[in-house]
């Protein structure tokens, strides 16, 4: 049975290493500032007892006044999983650091979020539209897309 780590425990562990970067942590997920996302993810992947080496999926949800990017990570060895979230504000050019350097599986998913939701990921080697064509106006999955 995949044990889904509770956000609170992991937040407690990370509090001293990354002071002030954890905004909120509820029962099953764990919200992080987007600036410190990369090094928290680096820690989650490399720490031996967490060892979250398998990225299940990345999703973006449009809550009108902010975008929420959800990462679901799993450890194949310890058989536990964790949901990591981050938020980005502003509707013209929301920005989130890219985790392609840690998990190569994030490559196409981040391109898809950029293509359909409009969130750009800095540090992504080949960020361009994946499903729609180059001249397409607008980002279809946004709530205010006509």
């Amino acid at each position: 049975m995949i044990l889904s780590l509770s956000g609170k425990e992991v937040a407690a562990q990370l509090e001293q290493q990354f002071p002030g970067s954890i905004i909120a942590s509820s029962e099953n997920n764990f919200l992080v500032k987007s600036e410190s996302l990369l090094d928290i993810a680096e820690y989650l992947k490399s720490s031996p007892e967490l060892d979250l080496d398998y990225l299940n999926h990345i999703t973006a949800v449009d809550y009108y006044d902010y975008f929420e990017v959800v990462y679901q990570l799993t450890s194949i060895k310890h058989n536990h999983s964790l949901v990591l979230k981050t938020r980005c504000y502003g509707r013209d050019n929301p920005l989130v650091p890219s985790v392609v350097s840690l998990w190569q599986g994030a490559d196409f998913q981040e391109r898809e979020i950029y293509d359909l939701m409009g969130i750009s990921f800095d540090g992504h080697p080949n960020l361009k539209r994946i499903f729609l064509w180059e001249g397409f106006q607008g980002y279809p999955l946004r709530k205010d897309y006509l």
Partner: protein
């Protein structure tokens, strides 16, 4: 003195017999060796995630049929599990067993198509494909008996299944279970030591264990690389913890291992169906669920072991009748992440075989 050769760009394009649908690879070649390969998606992007936001929770089920149209029972199951997890709906026993039987039959049908297409690309032009389709027609008859449709069944509902099985279903299923193992053995005997298949598939397109995990590959491709990770065992959903079956894994992770893993998994699926047939109770097939479900505000992620890999649905609800956000974790798209590294350095015909052994469905890649 290195021979100066010029690269040559070719589109293994959207309309191509071996790209399993409208998938395009822009390959740069040096002679016949592939120097660089860029997959291009989007030729079947119907925007299912946007359409799901304008339909009720029950209305999204026909949309999920058309995702991976070779395994639409598994798509239904994944979506329905996500909604039940979100809304906290219990499912009666008989419905759980029916779902397991349908999902495992669908896995066999999807693997038959996968192996048939893979051998078709290895050069056995259409003979194994017709063999496979003859067996798949038997499974489609069973599905037609249950749901009335041949390909896109729309059979499962939130809280159970849409209708009970007719009484001649179980004897027909027993008949199918009797002669399917014979077919798999005969087919395996033909191909296990086949020199052409060994020459074409052994040691080609090797995906190492670390690269597979790092590229979030899942399903038979991950198990062929030696990672023992099957969601039916790792995170048993519905009632998969009541059946015992093994998880076959390959050693090297080349095309031949992927083929072997799929053949072994068909046998394991047959075992699961047998056990499910014996233990199936009678009773209701659908719990009382309001037609317009209004799940509480919140989010849920449920994933199953679909024939292509880990198929997951991430649902966000704002207590209205339509899902606020419905993201689909498409295993076919993830499995293609490693395609570029696996293919560079090989010849074109090996690239076609490596692509065929990953076995994607473009409906699920582009959504």
């Amino acid at each position: 003195m290195a021979i100066k050769t010029e690269p040559f760009v070719i589109n293994i394009g959207p309309v191509h017999p071996s790209t399993h649908g409208v998938f395009r690879m822009r390959a740069t070649l040096d002679g016949e060796v592939i120097v660089d390969l860029e997959p291009v998606f989007g030729y079947l992007h119907r925007g299912i995630e946007k359409l799901a936001e304008e339909r009720t929770y029950t209305g999204v089920i026909p949309l999920t049929d058309r995702l991976d149209y070779i395994a639409s029972m598994s798509n239904n199951l994944a979506y329905v599990l996500a909604v039940e997890k979100l809304a906290g709906i219990a499912v009666p026993e008989r419905a759980e067993y029916l779902r397991v039987i349908m999902a495992e039959l669908q896995r066999i049908a999807a693997y038959l198509v996968a192996i048939g297409a893979f051998l078709n690309e290895c050069g056995a032009f259409f003979t194994p494909f017709l063999y496979m389709f003859r067996e798949r027609e038997k499974i489609i008859d069973l599905f037609e008996m249950v749901s009335g449709q041949r390909l896109l069944y729309n059979y499962m509902r939130v809280g159970g299944v849409s209708q009970d099985i007719p009484e001649e279903f179980l004897p027909a299923l027993g008949e199918f279970l009797k002669q399917m193992p014979r077919f798999i053995d005969e087919y395996d005997r033909l191909l296990k030591q086949n020199e052409i298949l060994l020459a074409r598939a052994k040691g080609i397109g090797i995906l190492t264990k670390e690269k597979a995990v790092n590229c979030s590959v899942s399903g038979p491709v991950l198990r062929a690389s030696g990672v023992k990770w099957d969601i039916r065992k790792a995170d048993p959903y519905s009632i998969y913890d009541r059946f015992e079956f093994e998880i076959p894994t390959g050693e090297v992770g080349d095309c031949y291992d992927r083929y072997r893993v799929r053949i072994e998994e068909m046998r394991q699926s047959l075992r699961i169906i047998e056990q499910a047939m014996e233990q199936i109770p009678s009773g209701a097939v659908k719990s009382e669920v309001p037609h317009l479900i209004r799940p509480p505000v919140g989010e849920a992620y449920a994933h199953i072991e679909a024939p292509k890999g880990e198929l997951g649905f991430y649902l966000v609800s704002d207590n209205s009748i339509a899902p606020y956000r419905c993201h689909i974790r498409a295993p076919s798209l993830m499995n293609l992440t490693a395609l570029r590294e696996m293919v560079i350095g090989w010849k074109i015909q090996d690239a076609i075989i490596i692509f065929g052994s990953i076995d994607i469905t473009v409906g699920e890649v582009d959504r």
